[in-house]
């Protein structure tokens, strides 16, 4: 049976690249960031992880290649094989007019990215302050939160038809739907963040003579920061979820639209290209938010690097 030996030393949460199994206690400033990264990289390479990762991907592609192109299993034969998708993706003159060389491909990505970022920023600009106030003032929460909870169970995607009716043009409904999904995630997480702040921090601030407004800025906002960034990461992921659906139903340009159109135009390789691109762009955006989060919260990053005290 597999090894169950748990390790105790430094088994805390790792941050950043690779697996920070550094049990060295004194990761102080003197060891420059570069040396630490280099050390972690060498540690990572010696461990079996990269090879397992390659193995995992190899198995996945082998499965895809075999079932579709070699064995041609009944249900799989309609799917485009990896070779078809990759050749279409990389070919300078793609059969269906879309590959990394065609400008239209980047236009789709750009439009989707723009929609997600507009919706995401709107959701952050409205969700974070609202969440903080909900967490901070009980009176505000008693009035606003029930209405918020009333609307939240309705999935943002159920709003698609209403959004089409409510808003002019074809762009604003999509932005609204993407915004709605992110808004719920951001507000809720920020509120939970503000509420989860240990009451002794607030009391300590009052003791030290801070007034209510100062306590809000010096304690509640920074204290809720980790939760806010959790929320932002979820909200980016969720934004992509609803963007795709909104684009599929009605819209022009955008990866969701591309998937949908290549389906009706029976261009399956292009459809898969769009799906994979969506996955990659989605991953990059949420990784971006995570990196900004880690950068903004130096104190958390360094605290966790040493296994985090209680």
């Amino acid at each position: 049976m597999t090894d169950l030996g748990p390790t105790y030393a430094g088994a805390g949460v790792n941050v950043g690249v690779g697996d920070a199994a550094t049990s060295t206690a004194d990761v102080t400033d003197s060891a420059s960031r570069f040396e630490v990264a280099a050390y972690r990289l060498s540690q990572w390479l010696r461990s079996p992880r990269p090879y397992l990762m390659l193995l995992g991907f190899a198995l996945f592609f082998a499965f895809w290649y075999l079932t579709v192109e070699v064995w041609k299993l009944p249900r799989f034969v309609q799917m485009p094989g990896p070779t078809a998708v990759i050749t279409e993706w990389l070919s300078p003159d793609p059969t269906y007019g879309l590959s990394i060389y065609s400008p239209e491909y980047y236009q789709h990505i750009w439009v989707s990215l723009r929609r997600v970022s507009v919706a995401f920023l709107l959701a952050t600009a409205t969700g974070v302050p609202l969440g903080l106030f909900l967490g901070w003032s009980q009176l505000f929460k008693d009035y606003v939160f029930p209405v918020f909870e009333l609307l939240r169970p309705i999935p943002p995607l159920a709003w698609v038809p209403l959004a089409i009716i409510m808003f002019e043009g074809s762009e604003t409904p999509i932005i609204f739907l993407t915004f709605l999904a992110s808004f719920y995630a951001t507000t809720l997480n920020t509120m939970l963040g503000a509420e989860s702040i240990d009451v002794s921090f607030v009391r300590a601030a009052y003791c030290l003579g801070a007034k209510r407004r100062q306590v809000f800025w010096h304690v509640v906002v920074p204290g809720a920061m980790p939760f806010i960034f959790t929320g932002l990461q979820i909200s980016v992921g969720v934004a992509w979820f609803s963007l795709v659906a909104a684009e599929m139903v009605s819209g022009q340009y955008g990866l969701g639209y591309l998937i949908n159109t290549s389906y009706t135009m029976v261009q399956y390789p292009t459809m898969f290209i769009a799906m994979i691109t969506l996955g990659v762009v989605g991953y990059v955006t949420s990784a971006g938010v995570r990196i900004i989060g880690n950068y903004m919260m130096q104190w958390r990053a360094r605290e966790l690097a040493i296994g985090g005290e209680n």
Binding site: F201, R203, Y206, C207, L208, H218, P222, G223, W299, R300
Partner: protein, 299 residues
Amino acid sequence: MSPQPAPGYDRSITTPVEPASLMTETSRKGEIRIEDVVKVYGSEAAGIRAVDKCTFDVPAGKITVVVGPSGCGKTTLLNAIAGFHSITSGTIYLDDELLCGTARPRADPGPDRIVVFQNGALFPWKTIIENVAFGPIVQGRMTRKQALDKARTMLAEAGLRNLESNYPGEISSGMRRRVEIARALMNDPKVLLLDEPYRALDSLTKSVMHEALLETFDKNQVTIFFITHDLEEAIFLGHRVVIMTTRPCRPKKVLTIDIPHPRDYSVLTAKRFREYLDETVEAVHEEALKAFAAGERER
């Protein structure tokens, strides 16, 4: 992580060091008078009576330690003084200025009474020096630069010089307690309210913390209101020890410890210490049994 002993700290010298820089304030008294304080959580009938007709004095410039079984209402009392909780009836005075009473059930928290919390409350998102300089900056008493400079001197005195730019998460819990006390003293408080600050520490660190606290007290002569359930700690530190009954708490026995300050570790084995111990252990034990019987979950 063993705490490095603070450099230059040597108990052998007996003459107290005159803390010139800290005594600039007018001689603050910091005496607390608690009279017939009652505190009931929840409605009068069904609520939990935490404090019942509690009356005792906390002399100015002295260390008063309140000892009692866990969950007996000591923290409620401290919170009332600090202004976090209201009281149902009775009055609390600080240097004959009314903190709270029936007219004003909840006192306003302020820099004259600063609390050091059980699990520590240094702001993890501010560096050590920003933490210490927080009070004066927020009250607007000093500019940022002045506050940082004074904070730097405070930290140097407490032997925490090279930790200024670290975050609280990166230093040991013992060191964090000392930074927290430095943060409190930055505001020249009349009273330091310590809520079982060394509870989570191992006994070795605890003894180092005791000596550091005594040393700080020698320099500042600030009134200290110290809560603990550890009897030895109470007698070792306190000028006056108040033993509390189980919930609802009332002072059961008040003891003045006349071992001279500044005290050091040798006191623990002194005969006088043992006598105090014998005298009090029986009283405290009795209350502990009652609390245990009530199955009180330590709040």
